[in-house]
Symmetry: D3
Subunit: 287 residues, 6 copies
């Protein structure tokens, strides 16, 4: 008898019970101010992952050896950020409560806030490692406090000073940079300082949420994003950074801001898939 | 001495005071559920209008003979539909209060609600003539009552039964069609019945708001829109409909749902420009 | 507990057992000689179907009221047409044996041959109704006898003279047209003669396989196909033809030759989705 | 021994001596004011012609039965319209002097002037049949008198009143329409009046140059052109017009304004190829 | 009362009188021999600049603190290079005469010649610093001496030997490289030698015109240009070069050869915007 | 008298007899499993080569000084890999028998097998130098042993252990990497070890076939390929590798896997042209 058509990220076909990592997609981009399209990221990543191999020669690991579950995309309300964030928070909470690692596929960067709210409730001493071209530290954007441009500021509202470690940042208002110098641990332009941060977090065994805005990459490699910002990092550096970060106690993660229609060549989507694969392999088995 | 760079729709370079028609753009698409991009419509229409002539051989009229002012695009808050609608309503109210005809360039179709709110306050006996592929009569869409898919339902909340005249409709839930049979004056698939509607409105000299969702056109002619729906009307039919409608007492109008990035050939944008030109020429001088 | 991510065509979420129609995708285009890409048709149709409503105002029917199962896409061997056809034939045979109607989503037109082989084994008196821009009657194409350009000729090998009813044909070698005058029932350019054909088939209650090469449509409406051929039919005419054909005893059908990447606007994919919806609604419940 | 790589339009592989029709390409678009790209038209038409069959079911004729030579594209000087026109005129003169029909592939519409200069020298009583969306009757355009927007005006300078028969025109300055009413034989919007014009020219056996600006077609069918203008004709109407025109004594012809990069689907290029095929078949053998 | 729609590059909203830098656009590409489209560069840069922040973390400077005026795009005659250059020269002369720095947005590289003519008249000891993939030193190109491929050769005609300092050059005829070895100061492939050149020019306080053909960048980062040439420099290197150059007495500058339609992802346009922002911040206040 | 339209790669206009290198194109991609389109590579490379100069400043050599013949593209049977490979083998054999170097333009990577079969018959001690992102060492792919994913495995069937030198490999099944460690000489990720390999081959004067799958390049530089794989090499490194390899006794070569439609910017095609130019200049005159 014919079976229904189950679609997952490449090889993420474990049952929910046995899985250690759970993928969930948040196809949301309502607050994107410049060029929307990140809503199409999660299904594109899932679909195009089949152009990859399950095996990583970088890490000599294979997704075939991992138990990962892909729960598909959430149906989120366009036009109401608060409702969308509540739904994401609930999904993340369920996964965390079951002792699994939630891996969120965005969507615009605002979706991170839902997952961080869930994680911070469970781990009040949470730290965030943040890779991004943009500081995302505005207090509001055109009047909206729930905006992709404010998402790390909202995380700071929850976690307070010194808990957010930002890398690759190369764009922001002057005010955001000033805020960062006082309240976050910002490392502009690249990954300089990441080893020390990882060392410290690892030694204290602190819980870490990793949020990767893919526009940290150079637009040459990753043009398929709403706000391409020249001067970014390349894939090999991001890969090394992911491997470094995986030495900490990562309890949740996300990969955001692929807007696949903006790069018709498909190279951006393929790169996003590879980042997701390497991230899952690096985090697995959970520390 | 060099002058600043003023950009308007082709030949719409009258001063505000002397103008009879005022263009204003609402680059908003936050509630678009399928494919966003209508936010880029107004600047694209303004910019590409220079591929047109000012003269229409269809109407033997020339924009050079009209006094039209282009007030540019509003800066609207992405992620808050209510705030955006309030801003649009305010702009429309100002123009109406000055005795001019506001011509709104969308943006997604929800923006119409802001203009209709302003118009209905000034003319409680307002009628709406609505060209669209979609009924837009849902009571809510994924929980949101302010959604492009609900915009005519919200207008019905204000105006009540028998005031909304819908043409070209060929998509909707079964419930929307049932609602229409009872509460609106729906003419599915094409412009059948428009002459009679115009006759009646004209005889009673009723104030009319005209809302043109460009996806009433066939996607062959107008692929650059978020939800292309086969089986639409062609430009000559739309042109005749516009000329018909201009025989009524039109007090406001809009043209919505061009998503220019979705049609890289530029033909959709060029068609939208031509619709705007013909609409302005048909409405001018105001009846 | 979270559920796996099942993806189907819009509302085709019945179980296999209860279903009357079974969708199956054949993402194959190895013999495409001009521009490949039809392999991406089935997942694109499935994914983009969510831009449609389940309700058809044309037929006043709703997919919500139908029991249809979507079995997803087959994994076919690129580079071996014979193997791919054998796999398709087997899938079609299973569905036919279970008394359900197999509805195949191509893929290039060659995939039809697999389904027709299965159908002709079960119904030796099978007729084919064929909508296409191209005659597809070559005996071989650059040496290959299993080619999209030969598929109806291969069907003729099985069924013999007078069983293949071709409509909308406007391209072929002179030899193909000569073959058609002698061996098939060809109606060039449009749907002229379809009513008579349907009448005859209906009166004799003959089993009919319907194969729709979407390039029968005009490229203005459907540019997303490998070999666009000007002078085609429009959607309303195709819709009427589908409704006509559904009056016969249709036992199998297919919709082929969408190459979604060739029409970046998405209008071709949206049209293909609408054709599939209308075809399913027209055929349901099975006669 | 291996042969060099000769590339021609489909089946146009006669030797120059035996040929009756000679194709020549003018990849020039320097005066295009809106969107350039027509320079890429001739090689695209030549290359994509292999997606067509040599046989036309419309005319029941086959290119295999015709002796046509394709002389490839000229190397024209970008930035100097006068030099480019002189080169085109020389090429056309050579072909005309050899008693063959020159068929020019543009390029922007200005290239027609080179061919018309050559033709008018040989046939002082020349008439022009002109299919176009635009009147092209400006006396100058931004100061340039050699511009695509002035090309028929320059032809009028040579031929005088009543010799230019314009069809499908739906765009121009008011002045151009006024000029047309006095000096040319303009039939706006479609092919109305063409039969009468053909009748008259045929009875007097007057020499005719046919210039087809492909933007006479509706942009739905032909978006791949610099200035798409809604409200055009469809392929079947153009095909009938070509067959009509071929009843006159056509001594030269051109097909211009395909800008293939503007229509990534390839449908515009495919249509242009089909127009060229049907035009050659209609004109062959020369009357 | 509503104000007209003034459009400028991000934050370049000073009045002409108070401004120190004046932007002016030259949307011209008539001599482009390979792929046109640079004409669309200036409006694209202006429009997309709003995806940037006004603040540069690289230079810790903010456009909000600068007085810059954007005079919009000139209306240039397509098809007459000489007329277009005269118009550019006039605009540049006015700005120079008012003691302001003219910053030209191309357009193809030929537009530089207009600005250099104006600058060299005012500063006979002018030097040029030239970043480009192509030497642009041909004496003529297909017969035209006013061509993008000849622009630095024409500048050499004015300035003579040793005044033109070329960097990043990696394409040209053998003759151009030979000419360069004798007559210009060419540094192929990258920015090697730039520090020494800047040192020398700075010590002598010589007036410098900076011309940046954006195709000096690697096509991976900047595919949106007519003639992409692999092996270019990356944004960080260009940024450092701009900062270096700003140590000299720069009296005029340009940024040319963005063809935005060739990079549908928008990344090239975004990069061009960032180069313009960094260039303005580096040059401001004028030395 | 007008000449036929011969089209070749830039400056490859020698006669076959006098030529030392012979280009031949294999527009085949039937076994491509992910995204087809490599069939369009050879004509795109030939056509776009005219955007290059004939002179290379990297090697200070000029194509004008070389005698190279371009034999155009073969007409290969889609859907039958074995037949296509036989045709390629025959063409390569003819060229090799005439003492010339065959330079094959793909097409998908499988086409290499035809050329290697011909070369290995003439030089049983043949070595292969292989640049690629993918190991291509599967024994079969979805049942097919003649697949792009198996092509080097098939070459290994012919040549045996230690004869295949692989560079830049960063994707494959775990089994392929295991196979490589035992049977081929694999250097993952980059060109590390190439100098040593070249040294050894050069000292023994062994015949070498060079196969360049262009996806060895980073997708940032070369997105126009079916399976983009992040983390590749850049053009300058590939250029150096080509120059190194040319120190061995190269008897045949190929450049494969450009799928030009996947990179609408044209930058990938331009890069492929430059690789072909540099490869020909490096190999000429044959060692």
């Amino acid at each position: 008898m014919l079976k229904p058509n189950v679609e997952t990220f490449l090889a993420c076909d474990a049952s929910y019970e046995e899985s250690r990592i759970v993928l969930y997609g948040a196809p949301f981009d309502s607050t994107t101010s410049f060029r929307p399209g990140a809503r199409f990221g999660p299904p594109a990543i899932r679909h195009e992952s089949f152009g990859l191999e399950t095996y990583s020669p970088y890490q000599d690991k294979d997704l075939e050896d991992c138990r990962i579950f892909d729960s598909g995309d959430m149906e989120l309300c366009f036009g109401s950020s608060e409702q969308a964030l509540a739904d994401i928070e609930e999904r993340a909470s369920v996964i965390l409560a079951d002792g699994k690692l939630p891996l969120l596929l965005g969507g615009e960067h605002l979706v991170t806030l839902g997952a961080v709210r869930a994680a911070a409730r469970q781990w009040p001493d949470l730290h965030i490692i943040h890779f991004d071209a943009h500081a995302d530290l505005r207090d509001d954007y055109l009047g909206a406090r729930l905006s992709h441009a404010c998402v790390l500021r909202r995380c700071h509202d929850i976690l307070g000073d010194g808990r957010i470690h930002q890398f690759c940042i190369r764009s922001g208002e002057r005010e955001e940079f000033r805020f960062a110098w006082e309240h976050t641990d910002m490392h502009p332009f690249g990954f300089g300082g990441l080893e020390q941060v990882v060392d410290k977090l690892r030694k204290q065994n602190l819980p870490v949420y990793v949020t990767i805005d893919l526009d940290c990459l150079d637009p040459a490699a990753f043009p398929g994003t709403g706000t391409p910002e020249a001067g970014g990092v390349w894939f090999p550096a991001l890969l090394r950074a992911i491997q470094l970060v995986s030495q900490t106690r990562v309890i949740g993660a996300d990969v955001t801001e692929l807007a696949p229609m903006l790069d018709a060549s498909g190279a951006s989507t393929a790169l996003a898939c590879k980042v997701v694969r390497e991230l899952m392999l690096a985090l697995y088995p959970l520390s």
